[in-house]
Symmetry: C2
Subunit: 441 residues, 2 copies
């Protein structure tokens, strides 16, 4: 342990809880949680495990349609995230509770209110990942014929967030006098919102008094320029996607630059790339876990999807042979992002075809660490020390096992090395995200 | 106990939980719950008390604005009802959880989803009171310049409820195959909604599988013709307003007639008028409790409001003298509903001015029973036996005391008389509303 361990901020760790885990075949395992997805006790168990590990937050993604193309291949959404987190608030005491809200399909008054309510119910642990949504299928559930264009979505998102913050500020706690012989509220202290925008008009004030955190914590997960700008302006946490350290560092630097240019301290924006981990007592055991999940993938389906991503007929590919050579990015005419990810996985891992399908099936382009608790902890430290991350958004391939493994085996090592908090210093999500110092172990 | 006690259905009882209680001055009492309104533990306590009494449900009203005109006179909204009920689901096991949703300001996909989620989280205990909202102030928080007209609101409500039910039916449980070697969902069984209406387009299916109750239970609380029609068509429970038995019976008969004409069994619509109770060991103690709360009313304020209701200068009225004579209903040119209530209270109770203000301050026109547990139980039985009610929506003037008194003292009498269930027969809200038979005590 170096001398300066005592002044290093804690690494941030978030549980991104999703279905039976992030691996597309996780629900097919004999011991999977597929029958428990509608059971709130399952989600409570995940939240409690994450809290036992001292994680910053549990985060629930969200979509506004069933996802007809793919729902036969595995579960996606089941419970609704805001009501789920309200229930989790009462099954936990310290961990942050981060929901996802689509600014394309929600309106600010409802969202501000439910998030303020969640912050009250949880005693200051609410956060919200503002997303702009992705599909026409979602739009068609919300009286729109198709998803609005990218610029329109981000225009609306900017207005949405600005209305949220104004609503959260509109009923200061001090306005409640509760004077038995006089007034309940000092109406002079209520602040009308009077938001008149392109997308929403909101008079305010909110009918929920200011919650414990003042404003619930804002997260963002956009990759585009407008997404990064929104994050730089408002977000206190960013969920990123990066396959390797280099791209993670470039992304984080970019978001920090944008924040700096807007006059914010970049350290106030915690950047957390997604991280898929396969942890075993030995490297071999970790690999075996990964292999066992990959084995459950319906290979023909996955190969067909891969053919689509790489614009190549994959039907003759041998599953247990190395991936055949693919043309360089410049020569590819389809969607570049996913193709670039495939090339990066091939270059860094030299996988067999089946292994490639596995990497794509578990997080699809998010960093993937496979190994012993020590080696996974090493990699985490390496990324953080290289300025590639402030922490990670954990995406366990199978749940609940993946988060139990992480909490029981990786977290103690990070704690011992003085890189992760031992227990919570504060009671609010914002206090967990603050750069609290970890005493050396 | 008569011979037919064994075949009488249980009376239905609902806790309408609101702020510090329904009496406008409840928050001013020295032991009031005014400091606990943002504390979820307070609401849990109310729900647990109601569950201890075997009540059908706890019901939360809702409004979409702070209520600027009046917020200085007492608390109105604090927490948000859907998130609150999601938390209460985990603090209780059997009692129904009924939220309010405005069809004027919500859209069906969000509402259907959160209600289905609540039904899953609670194991089949969710209900929703669909209201059409009341003020321009609410409209201005939702991008509308003013409240839409009555007909438009009910047109939208009809469409809203029809979209809700289609969404709840769209993902049958049997569609989940979870076949480890095959499909997760049988997409053939998903039912597109394809709702294209005047107010909403919703493609569906819902992204929450069918919840335990299939459809969460629908309640309605409208007084107008269109409100009663909506209730008659869809509602399984109706929250009514009636000062006396006669008007309650007329209302109930009318709703039952409308249901019959639509081909429904009128017994499938449980009509519950609101009921304010002051319970004491003696009549005198009950009256003293009522008096003590009335005493806390800022009288000048209340007199000013009354002047407005009755279109008369009340400033010379003596507080502890009988209410001066008022012109008959036919001669009154202002809003008739409230004036009629004032006349009915005066006629039935011959109150002093202060007592009149008290009746109006605690429920404002809802039935009010003041007395011993026996006399209150008698009155409840009398209304039910006269066909004026299937049960009551309890509106305790002060909380938590009002519901504790009722559960500890009135409920046991009703149980002993074979008029109220002893413990729950079923696990779902719908099973509580069904005409379950109470064995004689
Ligand atoms: C970890 C992570 C979680 C995300 N969760 C959601 C989500 O729950 N719902 C959603 O619609 N989009 C989600 N997204 C997508 C992003 O919010 C964003 O829409 C997408 O990355 C495209 O961003 P861009 O338009 O700025 O390029 C997520 C992205 C990441 C990296
Ligand atoms: C017990 C009860 C509870 C009600 N709760 C609400 C409520 O929470 N929010 C609301 O906007 N209206 C509420 N209302 C009002 C009614 O839903 C309805 O809008 C009002 O009675 C006018 O109905 P009408 O337009 O059909 O005459 C309630 C009414 C009753 C009787």
């Amino acid at each position: 342990m170096g001398d300066d361990a005592a002044v290093r901020p804690s690494i941030h760790l978030n549980l991104f809880a999703f279905g039976c885990g992030h691996h597309a075949a996780a629900w097919r395992a004999p011991d999977s949680s597929v029958d428990r997805l509608g059971d709130i006790a399952y989600w409570e168990e995940l939240a409690r495990t994450a809290e036992r590990g001292g994680l910053d937050a549990i985060f629930l993604a969200d979509g506004q349609s069933v996802g007809l193309d793919g729902i036969d291949r595995g579960p996606r959404w089941f419970l609704e995230p805001i009501t789920t987190l309200a229930a989790l608030a009462r099954a936990t005491e310290r961990i942050g509770l981060v929901t996802t809200v689509s600014s394309t399909f929600w309106t600010p008054f409802h969202a501000a209110r439910q998030l303020a309510g969640l912050d009250h119910i949880s005693g200051g642990r609410a956060g919200v990942n503002v997303v702009t949504s992705m599909t026409d299928e979602e739009a068609r559930n919300h009286s729109m014929p198709a998803l609005p264009g990218h610029a329109e979505r981000y225009g609306r998102a900017e207005e949405f967030v600005s209305a949220l913050t104004a609503l959260w500020d509109s009923w200061p706690r001090s306005a409640i006098l509760a004077d038995a012989d006089g007034a309940y509220v000092d109406t002079e202290q209520l602040r009308p919102v009077n938001h008149r925008g392109e997308w929403f008009d909101v008079a305010g004030p909110l009918n929920v008094p200011q919650p414990p955190q003042g404003r619930p914590v804002l997260f963002q997960a956009g990759a585009s320029g407008p997404g990064r700008d929104l994050a730089a302006r408002y977000a206190e946490g960013v969920y990123a996607v990066a396959w390797d350290l280099e791209s993670a560092r470039a992304y984080r630097e970019d978001v920090r630059d944008r924040a700096r240019r807007l006059g914010r301290d970049p350290d106030d924006v915690v950047v957390m790339p997604g991280l898929v981990t396969f942890v075993g007592a030995t490297e071999a055991e970790a690999r075996e876990r990964q292999r066992a999940l990959n084995e459950l993938l319906p290979v023909e389906d996955s190969l067909r999807q891969l053919a689509f991503f790489v614009g190549t007929d994959t039907s003759g590919w041998e599953l247990d042979a190395p991936v055949p050579p693919l043309p360089p990015l410049e020569e590819f005419t389809g969607p570049q992002g996913r193709y670039a990810t495939v090339l990066r996985i091939i270059e860094s891992k030299r996988p067999t075809v089946r292994e490639l399908l596995g990497y794509l099936a578990a997080g699809g382009g998010h960093a993937t660490f496979v190994g012993t608790p020590e080696s996974v902890a090493d990699e985490i430290e390496r990324w953080v020390d290289a300025g590639a991350a402030d922490g990670f958004n954990l995406m366990p391939p199978a749940l609940p096992q993946g988060i139990e493994d992480f909490v029981d085996h990786v977290v103690p090592i990070l704690q011992e090395r003085g890189r992760f908090r031992r227990g919570y210093a504060g009671r609010t999500l914002r206090s967990h995200l603050a750069a609290d110092v970890v005493p050396a172990g």
